[in-house]
């Protein structure tokens, strides 16, 4: 695990929430690096989203769905036994795993499905890594009666079978992607190619805070319900803001949604945890914020794992949802502004955290989320029992049971 260093030269708190600008820039990051074919659809989406954001009917419809269909607000749960075990800060879990479909992804897909209807588009495509976004897209589409095609790397189809089955049960077509590394990055490529041809009638529900403007901003906004609720719940549960918040970062949507409502609260330390995989060597991890450089991938300018020629590097994580060479541009901005600390956690440490939470709290946690749990338990130990640490418990672990058995050589 690499070391977490305290915030150094913090950017001014007034400015840090006022992003992106009209061009979709978070400081120097973000923007739009896509073929001209997609421009008109991105403009249309930008305008429709701006209108929807101001429309009380849209907000009311979305909030109603989040409440009655998803089950929000998700609880902020005090993991008392875990906290006592570690002997440090009080640990609180923001239970996004208790949402309908088992992860935070549904917050975004319902918002974008509503926009799809507003734009009078008749078909939805999505990419997925761990399958949680695919399931959440399939769910939203089944709810609204929209046809849905989900692109998923063939390797991820293998390691996240339960989600593949769920998607199909809800009527979505899952298309395994055999090109490249057969993971999330290749699924994004194929979804983009589909969109190049189908853009006039299809909406592409991107599942993370990545891609061309307005996706990073829009997905962050839809996911910000996590941080807004969490803020209120902290105040009502322990009468103040948390001292530390920890979330895992692949593309970074649960982290962005959790962090964004707190970025102006300078007293709150925020830590994003990337996939450290097998170690620090190139190809062994998926930690662009920790080891990468700014570059262009999938439509935006952000930290990315590339070789010296600008070719995207192969990355590794045992968790399909974090196995991605890029990251959302706002995370790059927060990193460079020293507002959020980014670190990474290896596969074996995340596996340890899975067991720790399972046995001490009775919660099976998604392998992605386990990266945040591992780092958080380490940080909590350095804090005092009168301090509070929140973990964004972004997803549940049932989907990983078979893969866990395989990784451990056990029978399933």
């Amino acid at each position: 695990m690499s070391t977490v260093t305290p915030n150094a030269n913090a950017a001014s708190s007034e400015a840090i929430r006022q992003v992106p600008d009209a061009q979709g820039r978070f400081g120097q990051f973000g923007g739009r690096y896509v073929p001209e074919t997609l421009t008109r659809a991105l403009e249309e989406l930008t305008q429709e989203y701006a209108k929807a954001k101001q429309d009380p009917d849209f907000q009311a419809e979305l909030n109603e769905l989040l409440h009655r269909f998803v089950g929000r607000p998700s609880p902020l749960y005090h993991a008392a036994r875990l906290s006592k075990q570690l002997g440090g800060a009080q640990i609180w879990l923001k239970r996004e795993d208790l949402n309908h479909t088992g992860a935070h992804k549904i917050n975004n897909t319902l918002g974008q499905a509503l926009l799809t209807l507003r734009m009078k588009k008749t078909r939805v495509i999505a990419e997925t890594g761990a399958g949680q976004h695919g399931v959440a897209s399939a769910t939203a589409c089944a709810h609204f009666g929209l046809p849905c095609v989900v692109y998923m790397g063939a390797e991820d189809v293998r390691r996240q079978k339960p989600n593949v089955f769920s998607m199909r049960l809800m009527g979505a077509e899952v298309r395994p992607v055999e090109s490249g590394s057969r993971t999330l990055r290749d699924a994004v490529n194929e979804a983009m190619r589909d969109w190049m041809s189908s853009v006039e009638h299809t909406h592409y529900i991107i599942g993370s805070v990545i891609g061309p403007h307005p996706f990073p901003m829009m997905v962050r906004d839809f996911q910000s319900v996590i941080g807004r609720e969490c803020r209120e719940q902290c105040l009502s549960s322990f009468g103040k803001l948390p001292d530390t918040i920890v979330a895992c970062v692949g593309g970074g949507s649960n982290a962005a949604g959790m962090f964004y409502p707190f970025v102006e609260d300078r007293s709150v330390r925020m830590v994003g945890v990337e996939a450290g995989g097998r170690g620090a060597a190139p190809g062994d991890h998926a930690s662009p914020l920790t080891y990468g450089f700014p570059g262009v991938l999938h439509g935006s300018y952000s930290y990315v794992m590339q070789d010296e020629d600008g070719q995207t590097s192969d990355v590794h994580s045992m968790s399909a949802g974090l196995d991605y060479p890029g990251v959302g541009p706002e995370h790059s901005y927060w990193k460079d502004a020293s507002r959020v600390e980014y670190t990474s956690c290896r596969d074996d440490e995340a596996l340890g955290a899975f067991d720790f939470l399972a046995r001490n709290e009775g919660i099976l946690t998604a392998l992605e989320t386990c990266h945040a749990v591992a780092k958080a338990t380490e940080i909590a130990k350095t804090m005092s029992p009168d301090q509070h640490l929140v973990i964004c418990l972004s997803g549940r672990g049932d989907k990983d049971a078979a893969e866990l058995a395989r990784l451990r050589g056990q029978e399933w």
């Binding site: 061009q23 923007g31 739009r32 690096y33 896509v34 073929p35 001209e36 074919t37 997609l38 421009t39 008109r40 659809a41 090109s179 490249g180 990055r185 490529n189 983009m192 190619r193 190049m196 041809s197 853009v199 006039e200 570059g295 262009v296 991938l297 999938h298 439509g299 300018y301 590339q306 010296e308 020629d309 600008g310 070719q311 995207t312």
Partner: protein, 266 residues
């Protein structure tokens, strides 16, 4: 004035149109790329587009994607490509334009990319993921280096935006025929000729049409309304078995190019 500007003014003076094949640099190796370029010139192509292999080409269909994958699997690097092109260009008079992702240009540094590409003998670049809004800085560098930045217009581009793109483009304007990715099409979309014609009347910049073009009848249909035609996947497909027999691959590409050139002259 670049070699591309010069080419189109000569073609215009003689009432001729350009055929511009696309090939992938380093598919399957750079010496083969050099041989193909020489052959294309012998056959009578006016210029060629050289694709710089990229790991994540979202505008490309399966044929060009696969060619990039083959080239990258053989570890072709940008420096090697420039080195080979510089060597080949000594015996080539036709202009070359590179097709390259902004991911690659950014990684090398925009000025460094332009200088190295120009030194190698490229007259310009087509950057399919650099929209006109994001291109101001790079376009300025290109102008300062007398290097063409070819911009693209597509069927989803609104008319006012197409005019703005035409103003910002240099060398020629790349008119994408279809809403979609690269790859041969049996039929081109209705209204294509009219849309190109509309723009033709409103810009002095040469217009070249690409995506989907693979047959002599496409060439016959489109050449009256444009200044050049770009053929990519159809040629890359002819070359994809070069590993088995270079001679057969070149013969098959030559046959296709000859048929397209004949249609251009008819």
């Amino acid at each position: 004035m670049t070699a591309i500007d010069d080419l189109f003014s000569r073609l215009k003076a003689s009432g001729k149109k350009a055929l511009m094949p696309f090939i992938t640099a380093g598919d399957p190796n750079l010496p083969f790329t050099a041989k193909v370029l020489s052959r294309l010139q012998e056959l009578g192509c006016s210029m060629a587009e050289v694709g710089i292999p990229y790991s994540d080409p979202i505008a490309d269909g399966p044929v060009i994607q696969a060619s990039y994958t083959r080239a990258l699997a053989n570890k072709v690097k940008l420096d090697h490509i420039f080195h080979q092109i510089a060597d080949t260009k000594r015996s080539l008079s036709m202009p070359l334009v590179s097709m390259v992702s902004y991911a690659i240009i950014h990684r090398h540094g925009p000025a460094r990319y332009i200088e190295a590409a120009k030194d190698a003998g490229f007259s310009g670049a087509i950057v399919p993921d650099l929209l006109v809004e994001e291109s101001a800085q790079f376009a300025k560098l290109c102008r300062e280096h007398d290097f063409n930045l070819v911009q693209l217009v597509t069927p989803t581009t609104p008319q006012d935006r197409a005019l703005k793109i035409a103003e910002q483009s240099s060398g020629f304007l790349y008119f994408v025929s279809v809403t979609g990715i690269t790859g041969e099409r049996t039929q081109l979309p209705d209204g294509l000729v009219d849309r190109v014609g509309w723009l033709r009347e409103r810009t002095k910049l040469p217009i070249c049409i690409g995506f989907g073009i693979s047959k002599p009848e496409h060439v016959r249909l489109l050449s009256p309304v444009c200044d050049g035609l770009i053929v990519g996947s159809a040629i890359v497909r002819c070359l994809e078995k070069a590993n088995e027999s270079e001679a057969n691959a070149i013969a098959s590409a030559s046959e296709l190019v000859s048929s397209l050139l004949a249609a251009l002259d008819s």
